[in-house]
């Protein structure tokens, strides 16, 4: 925290509440509640008993919360050829592998791009920054062709491989590694550290906020990913929970189905929320270096 200075008008990052902040609260509190309203709706619908789902006019808040929708959802899922637990297991495995690999890949790549000199280094980093805008959805066709030419269709790792290189992740990580003084790395060399030692004992401990940020972003992209299951994988038992929920809910949007769909949506949302709450302050530390110059 930084001292505020002598000047009355500078109110950025204040230490305590002041009446002049009231106008911001007056705008921000209703606005953020409005943004939150659809999520409140999702929570309350997920816990509504059947009779409340059919009430007219519809009520936003649930009166007698129950877990019926969740039990109904899992009962409905157990009738399919592949059990829901298998999809859930796939999703958890995909998320764990994607998060671990994308952290390892971006930490080591960021270290090289930040601290080593070689020809084409600036070009690679600029290409990576430009690639933030290559929305994957725009090139789904050639990605599909490349994956089938490589013989990767119908493999479990096809859920993971296409999303482990995350240009935003490398970008944020490299900005962060830039902050590590070169002298620290040289000192480690003098102590006889290998390149791997430097990555794991110097770079990793000093870039924890950026690692947390990459963990969140890659978790979100892996957990909600339906592209691989939709387009690249035909074997039902390799598909993910997000895919299953998507195909299940698109046919259930009213009445009792609405309650089950909300329960499913909640299952997709809550892990993202919990992880973010735990890592919020780390993410904010990373964002200090997010600027593109």
């Amino acid at each position: 925290m930084r001292s505020r200075g002598r000047f009355q008008n500078n109110k950025i990052n204040p230490q305590s509440f002041g009446w002049s902040q009231l106008k911001f609260f007056v705008v921000l509190i209703p606005l953020s509640l409005l943004l939150l309203l659809p999520i409140v709706f999702m929570f309350s619908t997920a816990f509504k008993p059947a009779d409340e789902l059919f009430v007219f006019p519809p009520r936003l808040f649930v009166l007698n919360p129950t877990l019926d929708n969740f039990t109904r959802l899992f009962k409905a899922m157990s009738t399919s050829a592949v059990p829901a637990s298998r999809y859930l297991f796939n999703s958890i495995l995909v998320a764990l592998c994607t998060v671990t690999l994308s952290i390892l890949l971006s930490v080591s790549a960021a270290y090289i791009l930040s601290k080593k000199d070689f020809p084409g280094k600036d070009f690679l980093f600029d290409l990576n920054t430009l690639a933030i805008e290559f929305v994957p959805i725009a090139v789904s066709v050639p990605t599909f062709i490349i994956i089938s030419r490589l013989g990767l269709t119908n493999l479990f790792i096809t859920n993971i491989l296409p999303i482990i290189a995350m240009p935003v992740g490398l970008f944020l990580m490299k900005q962060f590694v830039d902050q590590i003084p070169d002298s620290l790395i040289e000192a480690a060399y003098l102590d006889g550290a290998s390149e791997m030692d430097i990555v794991f004992k110097v770079v990793v401990p000093m870039t924890k906020p950026a690692i947390a940020t990459i963990a969140i972003l890659s978790f979100q992209s892996a957990w909600g990913n339906v592209v691989a299951s939709n387009l690249y994988i035909t074997n039902e038992s390799f598909k993910t929970f997000a895919y299953y929920i998507t195909s299940f809910t698109s046919s259930n949007t009213s009445g009792v189905g609405q309650g089950m769909a909300a329960a499913a949506a909640l299952i997709m949302f809550v892990p993202n929320l919990i992880i973010f709450i735990f890592m919020q302050s780390q993410v904010m530390d990373t964002m200090a270096y997010s600027g593109i110059k």
Binding site: I12, Q21, F24, P38, L104, P136, V226, A288
Partner: protein, 337 residues
């Protein structure tokens, strides 16, 4: 740095004690990322350009047709010219700027609150961006349900704003508007956090100096200090808004529940690509549409960089600040904890 300099530097380093380890094999640490990056992110873009000049149908081997796909797209494909292109332009022109400005003003107001309420409100504002595809569909399809028991319809009927329920998601007059609202709602993500952090990290001395130089009010504060000091974060935020906007391709189909959307009212360029690629298997033509989208993204990027970029050559000048004695010194960013 060119190859020759690099080689000399490498030879120099080999002689010194620390440099033995700096030999080029350490670059293998870069390899795993670069392989995944080149295969799954860069190669598809190059492949899209190559396939766009062919008639590839994913079964027979492709033939070169040169510009035929592009000529067809712009002269014969009436769906594209009549619906897809105007829809995409309108959608991008509204959603991009609105979500960017919304993120900025929310971040600017939040930065002027104490830490605890700021973090709580930031969490509330960020949470819509964590709602993934399927959950977005579940929430908004129910809220905008077309019969009288839909949330919005029953509210509007009760207040007497409308006399009959509106088919929000099936009526071509409303679908685009709902798509925009939903996308803006879910767009306060990483870009918003970056801007918030950018404002919080502006050196307070800059404000003091500006007030000494005669700056008077909040408005001038934004224009002369806040915006120029956070240009890099603004650029990052603008890029992220753009990505969020263009990624929202499937939203029309998800909301209306039909593909294509009623009267093509909610079809964006991404839907057109998927339509040709995965229902008609005209991969060559679909690739041409992808290339058009990539060019569109590239032009937008150029505009965004022109608006917010500091320019590489100006970078040096920007980092020089003056200390109390009036001597220039290099500004050092806040050290990480």
């Amino acid at each position: 740095m060119n190859l020759k300099e690099w080689w000399h530097k490498l030879k120099e380093k080999k002689r010194s004690q620390t440099a033995v380890r700096q030999a080029d094999w350490s670059l293998t640490l870069l390899l795993p990322y670069m392989l995944a990056f080149l295969i799954f992110i860069v190669a598809p873009v190059i492949a899209a350009i190559a396939f766009s000049f062919t008639d590839f149908d994913s079964i027979r081997s492709p033939n070169w047709v040169f510009l035929d796909n592009y000529i067809y797209l712009f002269t014969q494909d009436s769906t594209f010219m009549e619906y897809i292109l105007p829809n995409t332009l309108l959608f991008a022109a509204v959603v991009g700027p609105v979500s960017f400005l919304l993120s900025f003003f929310l971040a600017w107001m939040l930065a002027q609150l104490p830490r605890i309420p700021r973090n709580i409100l930031a969490l509330l504002i960020y949470s819509p961006s964590m709602v993934s595809g399927v959950a977005i569909q579940v929430i908004w399809v129910t809220l905008f349900n077309g019969d009288a028991s839909g949330y919005l319809n029953s509210l509007f009927l009760a207040w007497g704003w409308i006399s009959a329920p509106i088919q929000w998601l099936q009526d071509k007059r409303y679908l685009m508007m709902v798509m925009m609202i939903v996308t803006i709602w879910s767009s306060t993500g990483v870009g918003f956090l970056a801007m918030l952090s950018g404002i919080l990290n502006i050196d307070p001395e800059l404000y003091e100096a500006a007030y000494m130089d005669g700056m008077r009010n909040r408005w001038q504060e934004i224009v002369y200090v806040t915006l120029p000091s956070m240009k890099p974060q603004l650029l990052f935020g603008a890029v992220m808004s753009m990505v969020a906007t263009l990624q929202a391709g499937g939203i029309g189909v998800a909301l209306s529940g039909s593909n294509p959307t009623p009267n093509y009212a909610g079809d964006l360029i991404v839907n057109h690509i998927e339509d040709y690629a995965f229902t008609r298997y005209e991969m060559g033509f679909a690739s041409a549409v992808s290339v058009v989208l990539l060019i569109f993204i590239f032009i937008l990027t150029k505009i965004v960089y022109r608006l917010f970029g500091s320019g590489k050559d100006k970078k040096k000048a920007k980092t020089i600040l003056y200390d109390e004695e009036g001597q220039p010194h290099i500004a050092i960013k806040k050290e990480s904890k």
